[in-house]
Symmetry: C2
Subunit: 569 residues, 2 copies
């Protein structure tokens, strides 16, 4: 309503001073919320549609109205409206003053440039105004402000004279830099031509304006290349070697691109760029071996094998890498491709037997740990429940201590803990979670032992559940080489492990028995009986555990992944 009646508002105020006072007192605050809050639960506030700030909206609206009504009369209020915006538009205000001096208005009672400047100096710090006048690159304006200020002409005149003698773009660059407006400075400097490119490079490096700088040059210019090179150097320092490589490659610096790609194991790019150089065959082979070694360290065996096979031309090493990585089918493919069936006997079969043994043993150990944790969890929970019931018996349902022994208690403890530790609150929530998990100890009797056990159980389930594809592939290879007995054993052990874990989920992560809710109200119910009943229901519900990210949730098992072989029984 206010915005629709701005002119009426101005007319009714009918006072420059009052308008100025109104503008200067504007605050970025919605008094309909802060001063007059609505009752909670009432209809919600209609949020302001535009993303603009209130102060800016009001300033602009008033200014536009005054400009159309009588720019001379409202001159000072218009200046106020510029200055009071959340980011003051001092340059525009100064420009207005400058116009007043160039073309003094004829109208009677019009404000003079002198008066306007004086008023501005009253609103704004003189140094700010001087700096902003510089930012207009208008030396008349600068001089006008400088004269009104208390500044010593011996100070500013030499500087202004020096600026005046500069080439226009370099002049603007110097001013921008003086005002720390580095992006503008870069644009102006870039227009000054090649002789100043060293300065460009320095500015870009100092202010990290690489992306901005690249946009100011054509991609085939030598400047673009030098900027890309500098940017790449910076990116490598920032652990972004792959992106550095891309920049170097596309601007025609393949040797350095190769280095960057190699350092971050971006092997496809490395090989491509090496072939573009082109690297001699023997050096390409060495590069491939180097990359393969890096990939092997990262357990990326399939990729390592590709490099060894296709670029180092060493099929034997490639096959061995695949066998080490348990990539059985691909190993066999290379064996047949290179007619190296001897490796089947010397390496593949022994590795398969070793794998089936180690997998079987691993699974048995996981199941043993799982069973131990599960039993212990039942004991811990029973103890907690017993302690809680004892408390309730003694002190009634309102007793706050009883809560301490409820299922939800660990949650509360945890929240408290994380608050009191806000000093070490780390940058990311991930770190925080990590830190909190450390608090979980599996030691018997530790305060959050139940949650530690749930977490450990969840981890085991995930680990074992993730093995489906791996086990499936191993089983197939075992069958192919007639190791049916070993395969049968593994299939049995894995199936039992999965069943044990799936069967334990409802016990470890009990679901709220929504249907078992007995009625809690009735003619005989009391406030206390209702409370107790609700409390109990809340205990049964793992609501809190589902909500608090710190309580491990039931892992979802990938039962859709078919891993079993029907030919094994």
């Amino acid at each position: 309503v206010f915005l629709e009646n701005i002119e009426t508002f101005i007319t009714q105020l009918n006072s420059i001073n009052h308008i100025n006072l109104f503008l200067t007192e504007l605050k970025e605050e919605d008094t309909s919320c802060t001063m007059y809050p609505r009752p909670e639960g009432g209809p919600s506030q209609t949020p302001s549609v535009s993303g603009q700030k209130k102060v800016d909206v009001v300033c602009d609206a008033l200014r536009k109205a005054m400009e159309s009504m009588n720019p001379n009369k409202f001159c000072l209020s218009i200046l106020t409206a510029y200055v009071k915006k959340t980011v003051p538009e001092l340059e525009v205000a100064l420009q207005k003053v400058h116009e007043l001096r160039e073309n003094p208005p004829a109208a009677a009672g019009a404000v003079s440039a002198e008066e306007a400047l004086k008023y501005l100096l009253f609103l704004v710090n003189v140094n700010d105004l001087y700096e902003h006048s510089l930012g207009t690159y208008d030396f008349d304006l600068v001089l006008m402000v400088a004269e009104k200020s208390q500044k010593d002409p011996k100070e500013y005149l030499p500087f202004l004279n020096m600026l005046k003698n500069l080439e226009p773009n370099y002049q603007r660059y110097t001013i921008d830099k003086h005002l720390k407006r580095y992006r503008k400075a870069l644009v102006h400097l870039s227009k000054t031509g090649e002789e100043h490119f060293t300065e460009v490079l320095q500015l870009v490096k100092e202010q990290k304006l690489f992306s901005e700088a690249l946009k100011l040059y054509t991609t085939d210019s030598p400047q673009y290349k030098r900027l890309s090179s500098a940017y790449a150097e910076h990116l490598v320092e920032q652990q972004q070697a792959e992106q550095a490589g891309l920049l170097l490659w596309r601007c025609g610096l393949p040797a350095r691109a190769l280095q960057a790609f190699t350092s971050c194991s971006s092997w496809r790019n490395a090989i491509c760029v090496a072939q573009q150089i082109p690297l001699p065959t023997d050096q390409l082979a060495l590069l491939a071996r180097d990359l393969a070694e890096r990939l092997t360290e990262q357990r990326r065996y399939s990729e390592a094998a590709l490099l060894l096979d296709q670029y180092a031309k060493d099929c034997e090493e490639a096959i061995l890498a695949l066998i080490t990585g348990a990539v059985w089918e691909e190993a066999l493919r290379l064996i047949y491709m290179h007619n190296r069936q001897d490796i089947t006997e010397t390496n593949l079969k022994p590795a398969l037997l070793e794998a089936v043994n180690s997998q079987t043993g691993f699974l048995e150990a996981q199941v043993a740990t799982f069973t131990r944790h599960r039993s212990r969890l039942a004991v811990v929970r029973e103890q907690k429940e017993k302690a809680r019931l004892d408390m309730l018996d003694e002190e009634g349902p309102d007793c706050p201590d009883a809560e301490l022994y409820s299922e939800a208690s660990s949650v509360m403890t945890a929240s408290k803990y994380s608050q009191s530790n806000s000093r070490i609150s780390s940058r990311s929530s991930k770190n925080r979670r990590k830190a909190e998990r450390k608090k979980l100890s599996l030691k018997e009797g530790s305060p959050m032992e139940d949650r530690a056990l749930m977490h450990a159980l969840s981890e085991i389930i995930s680990t074992v559940d993730k093995m489906r594809e791996e086990i499936h592939s191993l089983l197939k290879s075992l069958v192919l080489f007639q190791f049916d007995k070993q395969a049968e054993k593994l299939q049995l052990v894995y199936e039992e492990a999965l069943q044990t874990m799936e069967g334990a989920v409802p016990e470890v992560w009990p679901e709220a028995l929504l249907n078992s809710n007995t009625p809690v109200t009735g003619p005989n119910s009391t406030a206390n009986s209702i409370m107790a009943s609700f409390q109990q229901q809340q205990q049964q519900k793992p609501a809190a555990s589902q909500l608090d990210p710190e309580i491990p949730t039931a892992p979802k098992m990938k039962n859709g992944v078919k891993w079993k072989l029907t030919i094994l029984k």
Copy 2:
């Protein structure tokens, strides 16, 4: 305690009849649970440690005690203990009778074979006993039982005489088959030698005893090969062509293995077996093309490309497959490997531009749908909440109708629905969930519109969130070819999409405000005020939505996957 005092029990009973009565009345039921249930919440029952059934444990214990005390005296009770096991041990009981006839006990009052058999016939159906006597392969025993039965000798004698003339293993096979003991029949038949192998094969096929049969022959025997072949045929029918292929390959039938592997796109195995045959180069190329086509249909472009490149020796097709599959880096690798940079200009770059356009458009459409659903959800929820409050105002907190408008209402409606629809309850819970999801309609005003919207929102988030790697790889390729503007646009659109969705999660899946719980009890609280307060808390909590698997839960976003390029701004 009972098991530890068996002998005392027998001595105190001191009556064959009473012992027999005790044994015949045993039931597989834990009367300490069924007849005398403990109060709920009391200490839990100690479960029986062994996995054995109670009836079997008691029968065996009594029998062993009686056998050691006086086998002659307790003869009939011992027989009862054999017969009354959950799987009656009729053969052993019959054997005991047979022994009595062969070596009549000298002791006075000992039971005669005649009497024992009569007793057995009283306990067990005569035909069952006859069949089981056959199962001992002991013709004396068979005759003994047959004579005591009402059977016509003209019926059983010719059969027994026929059997007597057979070779021992074939005789046992015939009896086993007659008794439908197919596994035993197979074992005996397999010992009869090659001339009966056709019968073996028939039995195996009829009874699907493939795995069992394979174990009875050495892997290098012709029988093993014929069995594998039959098994493979069966497996192919069961949609298990890959396992069929493995069986065929390992038993030396590579041509048929190739067929099986090809049919299920098990391309590595297919290629290996083809090279083992060995297929001539041109046919291998054809095979590779065939497999590549199947893989392309399954959107497995990388694998298709490998086949085209390495076996069909058609690098151009391989590169095009990779470009179609948006496997940009690998496409470029093959381009450089085969020195086909021309394809970069003709295909790769245009495909990149097309991809960036379609991805940008796709993301914008997803965001638009997301925003529409989100706004609609807010409206639906407000309407439900309003309706609920109106109900509460009118009829007080106990009003059951108010529940119908609560957040949890859809859950209840859904549960009811799934129960009343139990006729169509499908085999798997997956199907059930699918069926229930169909009930969710996005149509405005549909009863579960809120849940349908949540589901749709969840799906969009997953779809968009899954694109991280894809977008990252596309951005890198775009940058490499200087398509910075397009890359910047895509990066911006994707980032905004992710932010929109991440920002909406707390609104769409509100968390319980655990800390905002205002105290509900106090001197002024009444049963009704507490109830109302709890009800309200429950509304705020998405507990139900977290528990009911049918209510879509908040999707977990993969914020750990870094996809953004720092060089794009």
